[in-house]
């Protein structure tokens, strides 16, 4: 992982940022953030197991290891903000407050899912929460994010768009076309690169002339920042500042958030391109959940027993989600032809 974090001790987060966040957010919200991160972790564990049982099929990309990015960034967002993501988006969906049962049911392809079973793992939507998907073509969603930022500015809303992309998506032409427009027009776009070091089996340095991805913004004279993505408060702090700038009309921000995925790229990837030691090292030194709970315990905000109880509670909750998804019905065959278009009245009067 990047050297930005080498000053931090094993399983510890930045104490100063944490103290500031505590003042801003209060203990209750921080406890909620921990609960959400644990929910994400348990959810992916059970999604992986359901995939093994073929309850979930096709492509399924798990988010574990990256929890602090989704929870930290979305803790800095308001419900007016637009959120748009790629196919590794279970974590973003849940951190946005989407109903976990509806997310699991979507993975199971059931009518009770958040897209009625028609989207699946890669295409989660909850437009009421301004969670705009769930897109599967690498890089495509950042252009959509720019359009949502444009719409927010056009309507003079106090809102931004947070668009997530991977380190592999950074090289797509659409990303650079988008960044240039966002900066020229001062759009309230926060582009979050979840730099988990790999795009499928390709390590970043094998395909990127510049591995310090923050520098990509230099070409557009855009505000940019490198962030420790295993520290939920570092993410929160950076996104909050970016959001403040954006709603003040000061334009977009590009973020290289360093993180790591614990599972393979998708459920069918044995991940032979990296060593077990490499994965274990991140888990042992930089696990975002352990870091947060260690700090909370040290600060007297929670006891180890309470932390363990959260784990048990989320485990139960996710098991209920699985049961719900399992028992739900498949979509009615009539759903096949619904929603290609909407019926509308073409009369002029």
């Amino acid at each position: 992982m990047a050297d930005t974090e080498t000053t931090v001790q094993a399983q510890e987060l930045d104490g100063e940022l944490a103290a500031t966040a505590r003042e801003e957010l209060g203990d209750e919200r921080i406890l909620e953030m921990l609960r959400t991160m644990v929910l994400l972790r348990r959810f992916e564990h059970h999604a992986g197991r359901a995939y093994q049982r073929r309850k979930i099929q096709g492509f399924c990309h798990l988010y574990s290891g990256q929890e602090a990015v989704a929870v930290g960034s979305l803790s800095a967002a308001t419900m007016e903000d637009y959120i748009v993501s790629h196919y590794r988006e279970h974590g973003h969906a849940l951190a946005r407050g989407m109903e976990p049962k509806a997310v699991m049911a979507e993975l199971f392809g059931k009518v009770t899912g958040c897209a009625g079973g028609k989207g699946g793992s890669m295409h989660l939507y909850d437009v009421e929460r301004r969670f705009m998907g769930g897109w599967g073509i690498v890089g495509g969603q950042i252009a959509l994010g720019n359009g949502m930022a444009f719409a927010a500015k056009y309507r003079e809303e106090e809102a931004v768009c947070i668009a997530y992309l991977g380190d592999g998506a950074v090289h797509q032409g659409i990303v650079h076309e988008t960044l240039n427009m966002a900066q020229v027009w001062g759009l309230p776009l926060i582009a979050i690169v979840e730099n988990n070091e790999y795009a499928m089996g390709t390590a970043l340095e094998r395909v990127s002339a510049v591995t310090d991805l923050e520098k990509k913004a230099l070409a557009y004279d855009m505000a940019a920042e490198t962030v420790d993505g295993q520290d939920v408060f570092a993410v929160y702090d950076a996104v909050k500042r970016a959001r403040d700038r954006a709603v003040a009309g000061e334009g977009p921000t590009w973020m290289d958030i360093h993180t790591y995925r614990y599972y393979g790229h998708s459920m069918t990837d044995p991940a032979t391109y990296r060593t077990r030691e490499e994965v274990d090292e991140v888990k042992d030194l930089k696990d975002p959940i352990v870091r947060l709970s260690n700090w909370m315990i040290a600060e007297g905000m929670a006891t180890q027993e309470e932390v363990d109880a959260i784990d048990d509670e989320m485990e139960e909750l996710v098991k209920e989600c699985v049961a719900f998804a399992d028992e739900s019905d498949q979509p009615d065959p009539s759903a096949l032809t619904a929603d290609v278009y909407v019926e509308w009245n073409a009369d002029i009067d």
Binding site: G58, K118, G119, G120, H123, H171, Q172, G173, T202
Partner: protein
């Protein structure tokens, strides 16, 4: 004869052509160190080294364009698109550049590139990853389009595609990669623009290609048993140029035609084939040309809905019976 999987047949074609011609190189996402997302390029990095088997960033437009330029400069690039859903990003370089080079230069330029990869529905991959987009390419003069259905065809056709002096779009059905079939040990080529009768029959010609060949073969068996109908299965193999002679020969024998394709019905390759049959062979037809397609909707994820969208044995059989007035 030995049996090997579709992906291994493609792998042999790549290895043999790279062995034969030092100007052939393979480029794409995950083709080298990962051995290919679908393992088509397995072992090629070890065999030919990083100069000729090259991993790219995720930049379809960029590396397709590089391939087109390298082809214009005399190399023989094989550009792998992880799937053709992503090849949409590269359409500008393919349609506006590769397809036009020879014509606009008054024959001075050649663009001997192969753009190949997975196409069609793979099973529960949802709308953005389950598309049959061959019509995009077959529409364009200057491009050639091949879509094999069996391991034997896959190998012989890919070898031909690589040797072809013009741009060839080579689409491999994602669900066929593991499909095993007989493949000769000795070298062979399958010519560009030539289809094959995969099953002989006198009652009705079913024109199809790629994955649907197998669905149609199953339907033919069923129709034989249930109704005594003898279906002739015509696998086009190349969609552009079209094997008109083979179609004529078959239709003059059966006088009935059904076109079966995995793609959507409107403005499709099947639509053009049906148009050709209806006009060129009008006097030979005893029934209107039948068509079976994927339903005219994006592909849903739900396991129960995808099979309702794709052409099935039942729907093919129904269309054949209709063409036979049964």
């Amino acid at each position: 004869m030995r049996e090997i999987a579709f992906r291994d047949a493609l792998n042999e074609a790549l290895a043999e052509e790279m062995e034969r011609d030092p100007d052939v190189f393979l480029m794409g996402e995950e083709v080298a160190e990962y051995n290919g997302a679908y393992k088509v390029s397995k072992g090629l990095l070890d065999q030919f080294g990083p100069r000729r088997v090259i991993d790219t960033p995720i930049v379809e437009l960029g590396f397709a364009g590089l391939g087109v330029g390298a082809a214009l400069a005399g190399l023989k690039p094989v550009i792998e698109m992880m799937t053709f859903n992503f090849a949409i990003l590269a359409l500008d370089q393919v349609v506006n550049h590769a397809a036009k080079a020879r014509y606009m230069s008054n024959g001075q330029l050649s663009c001997p590139i192969v753009i190949r990869g997975a196409g069609g529905a793979g099973g529960s991959l949802a709308a953005q990853h389950s598309q049959s987009l061959e019509a995009h390419y077959a529409h364009v003069p200057g491009l050639k389009v091949m879509m094999p259905a069996t391991p034997k065809d896959a190998k012989g056709m890919l070898k031909t595609a690589i040797r072809d002096p013009d741009p060839v779009i080579f689409i491999e059905s994602e669900v066929l990669y593991g499909y095993k079939g007989e493949v000769p040990e000795e070298e062979y080529l399958i010519p560009m623009g030539k289809g094959e009768i995969k099953r002989e029959g006198g009652d009705c010609t079913v024109i199809t290609w790629s994955r649907m060949v197998h669905t149609v073969m199953d339907a033919a068996e069923e129709l034989k048993n249930s109704d005594g109908v003898d279906v002739e299965v015509l696998d086009l193999r190349t969609l552009r140029p079209l094997d008109k002679d083979l179609i004529r020969e078959s239709v003059k024998k059966t006088n009935r035609v059904v076109v079966v394709e995995e793609a959507w019905p409107w403005a499709s390759v099947g639509a053009s084939v049906a148009d050709f049959v209806a006009r060129d062979l009008f006097d030979w037809l005893d029934a209107p040309v039948g068509r079976v397609n994927q339903r005219d909707v994006p592909m849903p994820y739900a396991f129960n809905l995808e099979p309702l969208s794709l052409p099935s044995v039942e729907r093919v059989a129904e269309a054949v019976k209709k063409a036979c007035y049964l």
